[in-house]
């Protein structure tokens, strides 16, 4: 297990070098000349050349890549043209909001998706099963940005149950910074007002983000649970005279959970991609919103920094998922 974890960790640096190479190629193949972009629209040829020299853009590409990767290794992601601050600092400031949103969506996926999948497997063929299946096909086809807008129309505009956007009420003072996750920080500091405000602001964005992972989770839980329930050891469990809850949870669920963990790992990709859309709709101040704002300002450092951060997160989550298998399924030996 430890050896496997080390081997997996050893694969990460070459992967990140590949990722940085791809991002480098992207930033250096921009159709627009970056030197012209930096120098400004009205700069003369001499000024552009000066900028090109100052930023090392006149050196050979392999050399530029080495400079680029050396900068990355020191945590230097460049300066954002939009905020005029180092990109790394911006990302660190906005990332907790994104973590909070993604974690809440993940939690909703598990809390809603797994029970719904089990229910439709146990009551296979019933109305609940049919409804769950229709919902999961529709959920997969629904654009999450449209889902978010619908939630805003229904729950904000018509019913007035939730706030429209942001992380906290305008009047609220953010909780003392411990983790940067408002829900956790307000819990830790015992700030009930902030906790309520943070949760009500989090509800709709996390539900929108959870949509894409919710549908497949219901589907996979259902089919693996059905498969697990048809195994011999389930028949044995029934024959032993165990109560149904013990058969379903202890013998069925534990074996059905492995593919579910895989799916959660897989759909982290969808969650991290969806962050751009959901944060834009709900004005959620995370890295997704930061990056979308950067797009309209042609702020490449910010976009590439965000991509790097989200990819790194994705790689680490996948590592965690692989290690989690071994914990859930003792039959897996690495």
């Amino acid at each position: 297990m430890a050896a496997y974890a080390l081997r997996r960790l050893a694969l990460i640096p070459p992967l990140l070098i590949g990722v940085s190479l791809l991002l480098f190629i992207l930033t250096h193949l921009i159709p627009a000349d970056p030197a012209k972009l930096i120098a400004g629209e009205h700069a003369g040829a001499e000024q552009v050349a000066a900028v090109r020299h100052a930023f090392g853009l006149d050196r050979p590409l392999p050399e530029q890549y080495l400079v680029y990767i050396a900068r990355l290794a020191r945590g230097n992601l460049g300066v954002s043209m939009l905020t005029n601050a180092p990109v790394l600092g911006d990302l660190l400031q906005y990332f907790p909001a994104t973590i909070e949103l993604t974690a809440a969506a993940m939690l909703l996926t598990v809390v809603l998706g797994v029970p719904l999948g089990i229910l439709s497997a146990v009551r296979s063929g019933s109305t609940i099963d049919l409804l769950a299946q229709v919902l999961s096909v529709s959920g997969l086809s629904f654009p999450i940005f449209f889902f978010g807008i619908l939630l805003q129309l229904i729950f904000v505009r018509n019913l007035g149950w939730f706030p429209l956007s942001g992380r906290l009420a305008i009047t609220a003072i953010p909780p003392h910074h411990i983790t940067g996750l408002y829900v956790i920080d307000s819990l830790l500091t015992g700030n009930a007002g902030d906790l309520g405000s943070a949760l009500s602001h989090l509800a709709l964005p996390s539900l929108s983000l959870a949509l894409t992972s919710l549908a497949p989770t219901v589907r996979i839980t259902r089919s693996t649970m059905l498969e697990a329930l048809s195994q011999d050891y389930i028949r044995t469990a029934w024959a032993k005279g165990l109560v149904s809850s013990r058969v379903f949870v202890h013998h069925g669920l534990r074996n059905a959970l492995i593919p579910v963990v895989t799916v959660l790992g897989l759909y982290t990709s969808g969650l991290l991609g969806g962050v751009f859309l959901v944060e834009l709709i709900f004005d959620w101040p995370g890295v997704g919103l930061y990056s979308v704002n950067a797009i309209t300002a042609f702020d490449y450092s910010a976009i590439m920094g965000t991509s790097l951060l989200l990819t790194l997160t994705f790689v680490l989550v996948n590592l965690g998922v692989d290690l989690l298998y071994a914990v859930i399924d003792p039959r897996i030996r690495y």
Partner: protein
């Protein structure tokens, strides 16, 4: 059923192919969701082919007097902030979304299948280089890479199509390579080799048709998601630009007016949902009918 399978397996290749297709189509016809999917996709294709002819009004016609009108017998879907007829804009958008879905898949398939064939059949260092490259592409969350590429290329519909295709090809490469690794060990390949068939012939005549089915199945599932990804890029401003009646772009414009005009984001949103749902239902049914082994996996 069993005897017909045996006959088709031993009879000539061409006849076996037809009976496989027929049998799969018969299976497909028995799946109810296939009919719903076909109906939706058929409607989408019809509207896309008809183009502006299907629209009751000019989708670009601005009329200050008619702005933000709710749905009525005159304007079924209401009007937008510039008084343009939303029904006309949504109908015209069908052509864009369908074209985008098809072009993304063709680009991703040509690149992905080509590289997959090279990696899976020739192996060696080329396999190594190609597969490590797919590892790097797949390390990115899908939409994140598409956004990074689209942002680099600059906003625009064709750039966003290229960006999505560039972030999707590795899936096809993996699929094709994985299939080839097991296919090239099959007895009929050995038979072809011992009969003196050359590499290109084995690849094109014996391997590609077998891989082709899997690729087409995957593509039929992916096309809905290609439409969804493209609408998402347009929504954040990287895809189609106004006044193009692209569904994602319309919703992006609608955001500022949605509090007063619920219909403005709702109808283009439902159009995306319906199009993607149609392709998903049809794609899943095609997969179930043509490849029973894949049944209920993901």
């Amino acid at each position: 059923m069993l005897s017909s399978t045996r006959v088709s397996a031993t009879s000539l290749g061409r006849r076996a192919g037809t009976s496989y297709l027929r049998r799969s189509l018969r299976l497909l016809a028995r799946i109810p969701s296939a009919w719903i999917g076909t109906a939706i996709v058929g409607l989408l294709v019809a509207v896309a082919l008809a183009g502006p002819a299907a629209a009751p009004y000019d989708p670009f016609h601005i009329s200050a007097a008619d702005k933000l009108r709710p749905p009525s017998p005159v304007h079924w879907f209401g009007t937008d902030d510039l008084g343009r007829d939303l029904l006309s804009r949504v109908l015209t958008g069908a052509r864009i979304s369908l074209a985008v879905g098809v072009v993304v898949l063709v680009l991703a398939m040509v690149l992905g299948v080509g590289l997959g064939l090279i990696a899976g059949y020739w192996g060696g260092w080329m396999d190594e280089v190609i597969m490590r490259t797919t590892d790097v592409f797949l390390a990115f969350p899908r939409l994140v890479l598409a956004i990074a590429i689209a942002a680099t290329l600059g906003p625009g519909l064709s750039n966003s199509v290229v960006a999505i295709a560039l972030s999707w090809w590795p899936w096809y490469t993996r699929l094709v390579r994985g299939q080839l690794l097991s296919l090239r060990e099959q007895e009929y390949v050995l038979a072809a080799v011992s009969l003196g068939a050359g590499r290109p012939r084995i690849l094109m005549r014996h391997l590609l048709p077998n891989v082709g089915t899997t690729v087409v199945i995957q593509a039929s599932i992916d096309i809905g998601f290609a439409i969804l990804a493209s609408a998402s890029l347009s929504f954040i401003g990287l895809g189609a630009q106004p006044p193009t009646p692209e569904w994602g772009a319309i919703i992006a414009q609608a955001r500022s007016y949605m509090v007063d005009a619920w219909w403005y984001p709702t109808f283009p949103g439902l159009a995306i949902f319906l199009a993607v749902l149609g392709f998903n239902l049809l794609g899943n049914a095609v997969r179930d009918a043509f490849d029973p082994r894949l049944r209920s996996v993901t």
